[in-house]
């Protein structure tokens, strides 16, 4: 199942959110994607500049939103990046950001199918 595109997002969470938001579910998807794109763009500049405070803050924000929509793998990757920012650890930050970006693209693709 791990290779399935659907596995990126917790299915039960999707059901709950659709029930909760009703016709505003589309708005949620849109806002999540816009917000995520903005944060990833900020993360790129921050990692390049080794601005740990911004790395910590933005990966923390994306972690929260991702967990809220059930994108738990992405949430965990963001959590790892957040920890590097907190520890002021530049090593592996670039690679982790690439993984986050890739996972985010997959989550967005899956969200759009809902």
């Amino acid at each position: 199942m791990g290779t399935s595109a659907r596995a990126k997002i917790d299915a039960a969470m999707m059901v709950q959110l659709k029930d909760l938001l009703g016709e505003r579910f589309g708005e949620l998807v849109l806002r999540y994607i816009q917000d995520g794109e903005r944060r990833i763009s900020l993360l790129h500049s921050a990692v390049a500049a080794q601005d740990f405070v911004v790395v910590h803050a933005e990966s923390h924000g994306l972690k929260g939103s991702s967990r809220n929509i059930g994108a738990n793998t992405l949430g965990n990757l963001c959590g790892d990046l957040e920890q590097l920012g907190k520890d002021h650890n530049a090593g592996g930050m670039q690679a982790l950001l690439a993984a986050v970006e890739q996972e985010f693209a997959a989550v967005c693709a899956e969200l759009k199918t809902h």
């Binding site: 909760l20 938001l21 505003r24 806002r31 917000d35 929260g64 939103s65 967990r67």
Partner: protein, 516 residues
């Protein structure tokens, strides 16, 4: 659509992730709450002041003022009101959580949000707010009641101070220590000079504390001053005070007391001790002491039928000291809670010190025992000296000092037929005679004498009835029938009373003449 439900709250949400904001808003609205949304800390503070929410959700990491600082500002704006602040975070490390709590945060809500967890948290905080509001209301009420209580005590103290004016306490033969609010400890000290120059002192200790203890002091003081001033005996005064307290005070409220009547000319003291610790008569010559133990129940316990006003009479010598105190002395506690106790008092009494310093030594030792505490003390201690100089001369009544009493006088009262039929003059006459201090003490004897004289004048003199008729039970009835008929038929008759009173060196002379 927001549905107003009874548990509906106004909730401020500050969160910079648009998606998270939308989810939380939807969950809160689904539960019927009114939601105000903002995107950063700065607007959270502004919105808080403008919309006065019941509950605040704050993201920790936000642009402009972060969640921590916003919480601090919001808590200071809420003042005494409890407006819970719940942090929205998935921060997991202890240090970050502690920072949130230090800033005034009340709880956390982690992501992903869960409707059930959210609802229970809100419910719990609603209850807490309700309790806080009740508590705040009760706190206001308590402080209001406390203010009332102090006002009432002030008024009561003013009234009491007027009734229990210094009296004769300013005499330099009396030394005493009473705490400023002694009356609310139930302690009362009164002293007054009788018209004959005797010093009357009462130290009373009412059961209980506060206003209930103070209330009994009022009738005690007014009765004491009224009766001492009119020359009543110690026994009469005790009887009257006991009766008043017995009738007016609720069960369980009574007055332990020592009452003394000191005649400095005759060098004798009469003591009645009902329930106070032993009184001490400390001898000048030998530096030894005699105890006057309580031999009665306190005032206000027994009805006057069972009350005993018998006193102990002791001979005094110049330089002797009479000491009395309430149980506040024995029971005075130090910081560790230990009482001063009987042994410490006896140590002073057995020390062989001169009589004049016993009082100050006891007082000093008690106060050292108590140490400095903020609490008002409950000590009442009295010392009466038998002076070895002429100071007591000032106590003796001098001519003109006894204002308001009958001295030399004459009175004639003539009752004619119409009055004789309906009026008994005895209470009127006793009332007049009682204005003479020396006669008041004998008013019951005088009543008997006057009653006999009046009846003889009326029945034998005016109506001409013979005592011999009353020799049989049937004769009694006959006698009173004749008396009634005689009075009804009476037209030309009178009975005349003539009183003449002269004051003399050691009292006075009353001459009574009754004729027809």
């Amino acid at each position: 659509m927001t549905v107003e439900s009874p548990g509906a709250l106004k909730i401020l949400v500050a969160e910079d992730s648009a998606a998270d904001r939308l989810i939380l808003q939807s969950m809160l609205q689904r539960s019927g709450h009114e939601v105000v949304l903002v995107e950063d800390g700065e607007s959270a503070i502004t919105a808080f002041s403008e919309c006065h929410p019941d509950l605040v959700f704050l993201d920790v990491i936000m642009p402009n003022v972060n969640g921590i600082e916003a919480a601090r500002r919001i808590k200071s704006l809420s003042g005494d009101e409890l407006i819970p602040v719940i942090f929205l975070t998935s921060l997991a490390d202890a240090e970050s959580l502690a920072t949130c709590l230090d800033a005034g945060g009340d709880d956390f809500l982690s992501k992903p949000y869960n409707q059930i967890v959210l609802d229970s948290k809100i419910k719990a905080f609603s209850r807490m707010r309700e309790m806080h509001r009740t508590l705040a209301h009760q706190k206001d009420q308590i402080s209001l009641h406390n203010k009332h209580l102090i006002q009432e005590q002030n008024v009561a103290k003013q009234v009491f101070d007027k009734i229990a004016h210094a009296g004769a306490l300013k005499l330099d033969v009396i030394r005493y220590y009473m705490s400023a609010l002694a009356v609310f400890n139930g302690d009362v000290l009164l002293a007054e000079i009788s018209p004959r120059g005797s010093l009357f002192v009462v130290l009373g200790d009412f059961t209980g504390h506060g206003l209930p203890a103070a209330i009994g002091s009022m009738p005690l003081a007014s009765t004491f001053y009224g009766m001492v001033g009119k020359g009543f005996s110690l026994a009469d005064i005790l009887r009257e005070i006991n009766q008043k307290l017995y009738q007016t005070l609720p069960i369980g409220l009574f007055c332990c007391a020592t009452c003394v009547d000191i005649n400095f000319k005759k060098n004798r003291i009469r003591v009645w001790n009902g329930g106070l610790p032993d009184n001490i008569l400390y001898r000048h010559k030998t530096h030894t002491y005699e105890r006057v133990r309580s031999s009665h129940l306190p005032l206000g316990v027994l009805s006057n039928r069972d009350f005993k006003a018998d006193v102990q009479v002791l001979h005094l010598e110049k330089g002797d000291h009479f000491l009395m105190w309430s149980d506040g002395i024995q029971e005075a506690r130090n910081r560790a809670g230990d009482m001063f106790g009987e042994d410490n008092i006896n140590a002073v009494l057995d020390s062989g010190l001169p009589p004049a310093v016993i009082y100050s030594q006891i007082l000093k030792n008690v106060q050292e025992h108590i140490g400095s505490t903020e609490k008002d003390d409950d000590i009442s201690l009295v010392d009466i000296a038998v002076p070895d100089d002429d100071r007591v001369q000032a106590l003796a009544p001098q001519s003109g000092m006894r204002n308001g009493y009958l001295e030399d006088w004459e009175l004639s009262l003539t009752l004619v037929a119409s009055s004789l039929k309906t009026f008994n003059p005895l209470s009127l006459l006793i009332h007049v005679i009682s204005e003479v201090p020396g006669l008041r003490q004998n008013s019951s004897v005088l009543y008997t004498v006057l009653s006999e004289l009046f009846n003889n004048a009326l029945e034998h003199g005016v109506l001409g009835l013979e005592s011999s008729i009353k020799s049989s039970p049937a004769g009694f009835a006959e006698y009173y029938r004749l008396r009634k008929e005689g009075l009804e038929a009476l037209t030309e008759a009178f009975v005349r009373f003539e009183f003449r009173h002269e004051t003399r060196q050691n009292g006075g002379m009353l001459t009574v003449t009754v004729g027809r």
